[in-house]
């Protein structure tokens, strides 16, 4: 049995269904991120786990105990909020100590624990400061220490980095992961930032419209998205609408261009599919006017170039699609805006999704694992 189980959780606010029967399981010490756009239900799910809200149906089970109707103060869950959740009238030390004081722990034990935790989050020197005397990043470290002080059964983090600047965000997310691994605490993390989720999680659950679209390891989510939504949400993806013309040879037709992709093998002729190609797999080269495009290629014109450091992202406008390709900045220099290019679609490494798998159209549950 999993350590944390969200069983068929459903929650509606009037006509709006925030959670539509999500099913998630998490083992002891694992780090799961709930990832999705605003309004997908991820924060609602976290609030249900924390006990701030009650589900319409379904249950929350931790270590075999059903906590669905237990009040938040008796759940032993540590929560870190988006921002500004530190008690402003208490110093950093007093904030961390709060949960221990409520539990009536001995003063000496409290002091020791507070000191250890502030050291753990790198704020041993700032214990006497009030929240308004701390930076946003420091405040969130204190909030993390406060949540950890009570030795929670599950650590809940609700977009804890969203109010911080980019550099601090990266630093702090690495620290959160380090501390989580060090303490071996089961963690549920909510974010809309896919890079954040992929970089620190053992598992990621991508949510959309109150449902879990796909749950898997970060590598699985990136390399094998199960639905067009996941493909779109995790990283950048080229989407080419096509029709299967030869399932045996793996041939599809995109507009007037025939493409061969391994993933199309075994598909039914006439099936409408999406060919998904990551930008880093799309090869671009300068086109010779009038020359043949060659096999598995699409012709187009460079529309924009975006410098991303070691790589440059090129947007190419093709007759039936807009393509995005990542290539080394040095090579991209040879393909200025307006130049005619040929894009090579790889035979292997592409994903194929049936258009009938669009989540809005089939209604199947693909959450859980």
């Amino acid at each position: 049995m999993a350590y944390l189980e969200l069983r068929e959780l459903r929650r509606a606010f009037g006509p709006v269904v925030a959670l539509d029967g999500i099913q998630v399981e998490l083992e002891t010490g694992e780090f799961l991120s709930l990832l999705g756009p605003s309004g997908c239900g991820k924060t609602t799910a976290l609030r249900l786990v924390a006990g701030f809200d009650r589900p319409d149906s379904g249950s929350i089970v931790v270590d075999g105990k059903d906590l669905t109707r237990v009040s938040p103060s008796r759940r032993d869950m540590g929560m870190v909020f988006q921002a500004y959740s530190l008690f402003p009238n208490m110093t950093a030390e007093q904030n961390v100590e709060f949960g221990l004081r409520i539990r009536k722990n001995r003063r000496a034990a409290r002091r020791k624990r507070v000191s250890e935790l502030l050291e753990l989050v790198g704020l041993g020197h700032a214990g006497k400061r009030y929240p308004h005397q701390l930076s946003g990043g420091m405040q969130q470290r204190v909030a993390l220490a406060r949540a950890l002080a009570i030795e929670p059964r599950v650590l809940l983090l609700d977009e804890p980095l969203s109010a911080l600047d980019a550099k601090v965000r990266v630093q702090l997310r690495e620290e959160i992961r380090r501390i989580q691994t060090q303490l071996g605490i089961t963690t549920l993390y909510v974010t809309h930032d896919q890079e954040e989720a992929l970089s620190i999680s053992d598992h990621v659950a991508v949510m959309s419209s109150g449902r879990v679209e796909q749950l898997g390891t970060p590598a699985e989510m990136y390399s094998a998205p199960a639905t067009p939504f996941v493909a779109e949400f995790i990283g950048t993806m080229n989407r080419l609408e096509a029709v299967v013309v030869d399932g045996e040879r793996g041939e599809v037709e995109h507009g007037s261009t025939r493409l061969t992709v391994d993933a199309a093998q075994g598909r039914t002729r006439g099936e409408r599919v999406l060919v998904l190609v990551r930008p880093e797999l799309l090869e671009l080269e300068a086109s010779t006017d009038g020359g043949a495009a060659g096999e598995n290629t699409l012709r187009g014109e460079v529309l924009t170039q975006t410098f991303l450091g070691p790589v440059t992202r090129l947007k190419v406008i093709a007759p039936d699609a807009e393509l995005i390709a990542d290539m080394s900045t040095a090579r991209a220099a040879a393909l200025p805006i307006g130049s005619r290019v040929v894009a090579h679609v790889p035979v292997a490494g592409t994903r194929l999704l049936s258009l009938s798998e669009e989540p809005a159209s089939d209604g199947q549950d693909r959450g859980g694992r």
Binding site: S71, M79, F81, Y84, P88, T91, F98, R146, A149
Partner: protein
Amino acid sequence: MYALAFLFVPAGEVIVGAFKNAHGGATFDHMRQIVHQPYLDQYWLTIKISLITAGGGCVIGLFVAYAAIRAGTPRFLRTILSTFSGVAANFAGIPLAFAFIATLGTIGIVTTFMRDHLGFDPYAHGFTIFGETGVEITYMYFQIPLMILVIAPAIDGLRAEWREAASNLGASSFQFWRYVGIPVLLPSILGAFILLFGNSFSAYATAYGLAGNSVFLIPITIGFYYSGNVLSDPHLAQALAFGMFVVLAAMMLLYIPLQRRSARWMR
């Protein structure tokens, strides 16, 4: 310029006048007079009524404002309450006194209703709207709305996350208010208390209209000495007003360290 013309110059005149006799010479006679009876009792009564109505207004206003603002209360209730409070906080003086006489006077509608339908005559049990209790009840009519107006923004500033974080860490609702809610609101509550105290301490027309001849508050006595035909003594009135300055200054001396202590986390 406005403050100079309507605050500092009149205040200066009151202070200087308090130390002058009828012929314009310097004297301490008035100051000696005001620290003796009957003025000491009048000061004490004025301070007592101000403390009671400020304290009552703070407590009741805080609860009412919180009830209206807290999550889950329909939005329109808050709008109605704030509009009413805006009007009621400024409804004072003779009209308010007459409104209470018409309601709780000897033949007021509530008194009559209680006597005729509930078989309880409050006047037969020692109550009178024309006495100290009556003045206190009437003052509460503008003290509570004033507290609601003053404290509402502070209650708005209590973040839902603090309550949730406290609950998440195992705190009960009482513990949240004890350790977080009240300490965070305390600077605002203290400020509001001082405002309500001053509001009540300086009220004149309401008390005069209600119990001008039976409840001797310092502002009423000042009025008598300033405008009375028989008892006219403007310099004694100025000395009494100077005494009010001293009381308010003493309140501020108590308030400042308390406020500083309660708000040390803001600095």
